[in-house]
Symmetry: C2
Subunit: 566 residues, 2 copies
């Protein structure tokens, strides 16, 4: 039975659902409307357009075979009618019509539907402070914003920029401005660390050290109170300082565009996401919704969450397209995987951070390891830091996060764990994860298996590991006995700088020099990456010591954190 499908929103989910549906049901008709005039663009590419990596904004609206995804493309190639510059004002569910307005002509009309798809996306939050709409204050919402920012920068009048928000988009924009245009860039984040919801303090601090090294100024735990300027932005006032600036990028999260749905009486969560079932139907079975305007199930917690990502919109769009055609496809939810490139490093993760897991009331802990990303003898190897979050008792894997200069290699490991997560894997599944091995790409005992093994040892009580950021306070406090487990030559510089405070017994010698380690003082073990200090931990535990702590990730983690004993 052919019918007419109306789709509100033509950026990511809408076009995917429309195309899939038309392939399955060519006799049906589809009308897709969008209030913008440009449609079907890769919004995630905006930072790379601003940086200049993507030379022209038209590339973001092109297919991989260089056709522009415009109204004509959808009409001719996909058989989908698109009306741009048309805003949906209200849904009449009883009449099965949507009242719309042509923004150019002001003309209003009712469009009918048999099935409706709401793909209204999300809109960036605008910080409620004075001056938040001054010229020069930019959101990162659509191609118009992207072009305004790039035009401002290329015009040459931007020497200083402030990015508000240190989430993915904020940091990507900071990189674009600082790295490619040499703009003196400052990031302001209200949380006490960058990527606050995505990684642990240790990984966040490592990423922060790298960004600062690249010349970006970052102010944490600082809130913007006003944006000031005479006709255009000139400065930002925070609770701690005033920052002169020529341009502001506001990237403080997005809010689902669910007003239209809510006004039509569809179920919407308290946080504003449209509620859908596994078939992506709203509370009205003739209305589907997906993408940035809905909440989906978090497959780790079983609770609804908000995951505004282009990858989600695409996959959900296919499910909706199938179900519009009478299919029974399901979207069960997501584990929340992500990746972000920060200058020469990548950060990636999936599932819960340790902080998230504890907040959920789970009895969680985490293992952090630093190991080379491929065979240690292979040229071009990089250190990879991985943190695996696990539940005690059940041994279930709750999340994984990591940082590495080899982005593809990191994303591969995170992707492998993300792929398993819907199946409720345990620590043992990570220990035995069969990452394809060959020296140019992995280690025989790969870093992903090592982090599983490390978690296994922690759960078994065989390794009292403490995160690397614990080092600094312990060092300043000065009551612990700091024992370097590396070879004498590696330890020599620190021994020389800190006589009496830094100690060295190479791990291989420890069993024969146990008496040199005080029994009445807490011991902190450090090696290069945490592997040998773990072995020293075992030797001391076997000797009956219970007051020993092992710095996970060792000197590699300390250095990445920017911590240097001094």
């Amino acid at each position: 039975m052919s019918h007419h499908v109306l789709i509100i929103g033509a950026v990511a989910l809408g076009p995917k659902a429309a195309s899939r549906f038309k392939r399955l049901d060519p006799d049906s008709t589809v009308t897709m409307i969008d209030k913008d005039t440009r449609i079907s663009y890769g919004g995630c590419g905006i930072p790379y357009y601003v940086s200049g990596d993507v030379s022209d904004s038209s590339e973001l609206t092109a297919t991989s075979y260089h056709m522009t995804r415009d109204t004509a493309f959808f009409r001719d190639v996909k058989g989908v009618e698109v009306k741009t510059g048309v805003e949906a004002l209200a849904i009449d569910r009883a009449a099965k019509t949507v009242h719309v307005k042509d923004l150019a002509t002001g003309r209003e009309e009712d469009l009918s539907y048999d099935k409706l798809v709401i793909a209204t996306g999300a809109w960036p939050r605008r910080l409620p402070v004075p001056g938040n709409e001054l010229p020069g204050v930019h959101l990162v919402a659509n191609l118009d914003n992207a072009e305004s920012i790039r035009a401002a920068v290329t015009a040459g009048g931007v020497e200083r920029a402030v990015v508000i928000g240190a989430g993915f988009i904020g940091l990507e924009m900071a990189e674009a401005l600082a790295d490619m245009w040499d703009v003196e860039t400052t990031v302001i984040e209200a949380a006490p660390r960058i990527l606050p919801r995505n990684v642990s303090p240790a990984l966040s601090d490592m990423a922060l050290a790298h960004i600062r090294e690249k010349g970006v100024t970052v102010h944490l735990a600082e809130t913007v109170q006003a944006i000031e300027g005479d006709g255009k932005v000139e400065r930002i006032v925070t609770n701690k300082r005033v920052i002169e600036t020529d341009l502001v990028v506001m990237a403080v999260g997005v809010v689902p565009n669910s007003d239209l749905a809510a006004r039509a009486g569809l179920a919407v969560s308290p946080r504003g996401g449209i509620l859908v079932d596994e078939g992506l139907r709203t509370s009205d079975p003739d209305i589907f919704a997906g993408g940035d305007c809905v909440e989906i199930t978090n497959l780790i917690t079983g609770k609804p969450f908000f995951l505004p990502m282009g990858s989600m919109a695409n996959r959900q769009g296919r499910v909706i397209g199938t179900n519009l055609a009478g299919g029974r496809d399901v979207f069960k939810g997501a584990v929340g995987s992500y990746a972000v490139k920060l200058f020469e490093k990548a950060v990636s993760g999936a599932g819960l951070t340790l902080e998230d897991a504890l907040r959920e009331g789970l009895d969680a802990t985490s293992a952090l390891v630093v190991q080379l990303d491929r065979a240690h003898f292979y040229p071009g190897k990089e250190l990879m830091t991985l943190e695996l979050v696990v539940e005690r008792g059940s041994r279930r894997v709750l999340g994984i996060q990591g940082l590495c200069a080899a982005g593809d290699a990191l994303v591969g490991r995170i992707g492998a764990v993300a792929a398993m997560m819907p199946f409720s894997p345990t620590v043992d599944d990570v220990s035995n994860l069969e990452y394809p091995y060959s020296p140019p790409f992995a280690s025989a005992m790969d870093v992903i298996n090592t982090v599983g093994n490390a978690a296994d040892n922690i759960l078994a009580g065989r390794n009292l590991g403490i995160p690397p950021e614990s080092f600094a306070p312990l060092w300043e406090e000065g009551t612990c006995y700091f024992l370097d487990c590396r070879e004498a030559s590696d330890a020599a510089p620190l021994l020389e700088r800190f006589p009496g405070k830094w100690h060295n017994i190479p791990q291989g010698h420890l069993a024969r020099h146990l008496d040199e380690v005080p029994r009445d003082q807490p011991v902190v073990l450090v090696c290069n990456t945490g592997a040998r200090s773990y072995e020293s931990f075992i030797t001391l535990a076997h000797d009956g010591r219970s007051n020993v702590q092992n710095i996970l990730g060792g000197m590699a983690a300390l250095r990445a954190l920017g911590i240097d004993p001094k």
Copy 2:
């Protein structure tokens, strides 16, 4: 209860089992013997030592923190006694002793054990042809072989080399010789294609085209009949030709070293692998075995198979170490993931090829896609080819293989599917696999999801895709109507070269030009990657055509295969 563990073999599994056991049970004692004098080396690194990527063979026996893993290291750092140059001659299971011989002194003795570990590995097959032991004929078995080959090459007397066998090691050695030392290198393979057991004909031919482009001569379906020379190798005689050569590398597979186990009455498979249970115990509960000398369970077929890889040895070594200490760790088997670097491309896979699956009697098919490995607008993108092997009916994923110039990116996708495979994933799990998305690392609809979607369409009968290597015979036969679905400008060169034989209707125009496509002739559709020809397929199917075939992977696959309509 402390006890004494004896380990036969000190390359990969032995050292891992020993170290793990000693960490768990420091009061016990471990003796590890090896008939070689060099131990604990990364044998998988041999091709990279021969190439010079690894400058000194000592790097292959070093830890990642630059300590040499020799007898002193195991004694001091791991608490393990190692006897090198000592061969195990016989196991007396009743007396719990192993009769050994010191190869330097000739002295024999009995070593007792409470628990024994057999880690005797595998040995390369030596082809049973005349001259197979002539000087200049090398196996790739240990560091001595590696040093002999590199010494021969660096001495300058090697202008031509022949590698027998086009499996992983053979091709890695061919690359080492040809790429780094400019040796005129010929590979001879008895099977009709390279990597015959690892990839489909399409992927094999793509890899072959690349290797040949890099200057390696490859002879397929050709068998070596003799190796000849006066005091040293001078030529190889095959069933088709005589090849002059200065050096021969024989890489025709390995055979498990299970004689010792068999003679002791332990259960050994007809193919020579020692049989072990999930705890890696042999048929004698006091004797463990693992690594290249055992058979393990193939998690896809449920049958035993042989997977001689350093990664397996390391993971099995940990399991044995745990179980020696009274633990209950299990090694359930493997899906058989692998990766291999071939000049500027990587090939990787996991699970069964389509050929394997059909041979197993499974009702299998496969989907092949070619798509960019990251956002199409992001610089540095590469085309990735993936083939997903699936079972009809159950929709179960049986295997995945791929090829890409971005090796880490390819290995990441294969690793993600390999990670899921023990959980018996379906096509839908691949369609929804949550590979971490960000434009620098993945696509919003990532290539891994696309290959899942393609398999879904094939299983639903929505895409009659045929593998790209089917093109050449159809083209030569000349009875099909070849329809190029790309835009006119893309199709123009072929239209001009083949008037009347090559046709073009851009996919977006097809619905309005159906009458131009003959109804009485089989139609073959081609586009750039297989995406638009799939859409054209649907348009034609909707028009009632049943004699249409779609070339999977499109022109990208044809070009990679070296097929060019001419």
